[in-house]
């Protein structure tokens, strides 16, 4: 008997949900025909990394799988076209720029936020995108990116002075996720 009551309760809740979603549709429709049309977007937004005129360190331009090789860098590295090194305490910061282009197949001039996180900790290095520190927790680094335009972004890597030649290779993946606004 208890089992039957539970099933009845579930049936009522789902029935209400179905009714709410059907309001405004004009004509009542079978739920099985309505759900896909109401919730699956016509075109999903996507993005790609692209080179900028002021920086050409990016490999894989035009795809969502980019690679940036900053080369050999030190606290006394001179300023170059594609990268900038600034001293910071006993260490230094190296930075470069890259572009992102968001594509919206619906052409509705939507905007999106770009979230970033590190799958592998970067310590003792600190990585920032547009000034926002990136770590293992996904957070918005670039909000309100308009679709259809290339936007410029900066990546900064802080290298502490006590990082020695013995562990001098810097390698990390930055995961990005585009979230339509």
């Amino acid at each position: 008997m208890k089992y039957d009551r539970s099933r009845s309760a579930v049936a009522i809740l789902i029935g209400l949900a179905t009714a709410v979603f059907c309001i405004g549709a004009g004509k009542p429709r079978r739920p099985s025909a309505r759900w896909p049309a109401a919730t699956v977007p016509q075109g999903a937004m996507s993005f790609a990394f692209v080179d900028l005129p002021s920086s050409s360190l990016l490999a894989g331009s035009g795809s969502a799988m980019g690679q940036i090789d900053l080369g050999r860098v030190s606290r006394s590295s001179p300023r170059e076209r594609d990268r900038t090194v600034r001293t910071a305490g006993s260490g230094f910061n190296v930075s470069t720029r890259f572009g992102i282009v968001v594509t919206d197949p619906t052409n509705q001039a939507r905007t999106a936020s770009l979230m970033a996180w590190l799958p592998v900790p970067s310590a003792p290095l600190t990585i920032r995108i547009d000034g926002i520190r990136v770590d293992s927790v996904a957070r918005v680094v670039c909000p309100h990116i308009p679709a259809g335009r290339i936007t410029a972004h900066r990546i900064d890597i802080s290298v502490p002075g006590d990082l020695t030649e013995e562990n001098a290779r810097v390698l990390n993946d930055i995961q990005f996720m585009l979230v339509p606004e």
Partner: protein, 178 residues
């Protein structure tokens, strides 16, 4: 039959939400690589007991001006003078040399100095070591990183030098990590 219809709606509800969540985001990966090289840096600073650097303090290109010097006349503050009567006089003042390291396991550094151009008349010394425009002379082989090290800069001028003679030269310092 009714029970079957309810169950079907439930499944569609969750499938629909899941499809929406996946379709609304896009992901990508940016791989960043770099190779950190070690480096050291040398700057000159005014020593507390020395003549203030005329320019370039805190950089690696500084100017030290002794001002007017003579064997027996007044010399500037913080200029030390020794006289060999009838032969020559020497003026000296300390200048701080600060060498810092980054991303290096080096324990200390070697500092060498060399005169920029030949001077056949005057004698130039750094920390008591006579330097010429020949091979660089080792000033210290165990310099400590991160602290100002006063290095005495001295010029010995013969008494035969005419009054009003301008003495000018460049001392090139080179620090090498050990």
């Amino acid at each position: 039959m009714k029970k079957h219809l309810v169950s079907f709606s439930l499944v569609l509800l969750f499938l629909g939400l899941a499809a929406a969540a996946q379709a609304d985001t896009a992901t990508g990966t940016l791989t960043v690589t770099a190779t950190v090289n070690s480096s050291i840096n040398l700057v000159f600073n005014t020593d507390a007991a020395g003549v203030p650097l005329a320019s370039g303090a805190g950089t690696n290109a500084a100017t030290l001006a002794f001002g007017n010097i003579s064997a027996y006349g007044v010399v500037a503050l913080n200029v030390t003078r020794t006289v060999v009567p009838g032969t020559s006089f020497t003026v000296s003042t300390p200048v701080d040399v600060l060498v810092t390291k980054a991303n290096s396991v080096s324990a200390n550094y070697t500092l060498k100095a060399q005169l920029g151009t030949a001077d056949a008349t005057n004698t130039w010394q750094v920390a008591g070591n006579t330097i010429t425009n020949g091979p660089a002379v080792t000033i210290t082989a165990t310099g400590a990183y991160g602290s100002n090290v006063p290095e005495a800069i001295a010029i010995t001028v013969p008494n035969t030098t005419a009054s009003g003679t301008l003495i000018s030269n460049t001392i090139n310092f080179t620090a090498t990590s050990n």
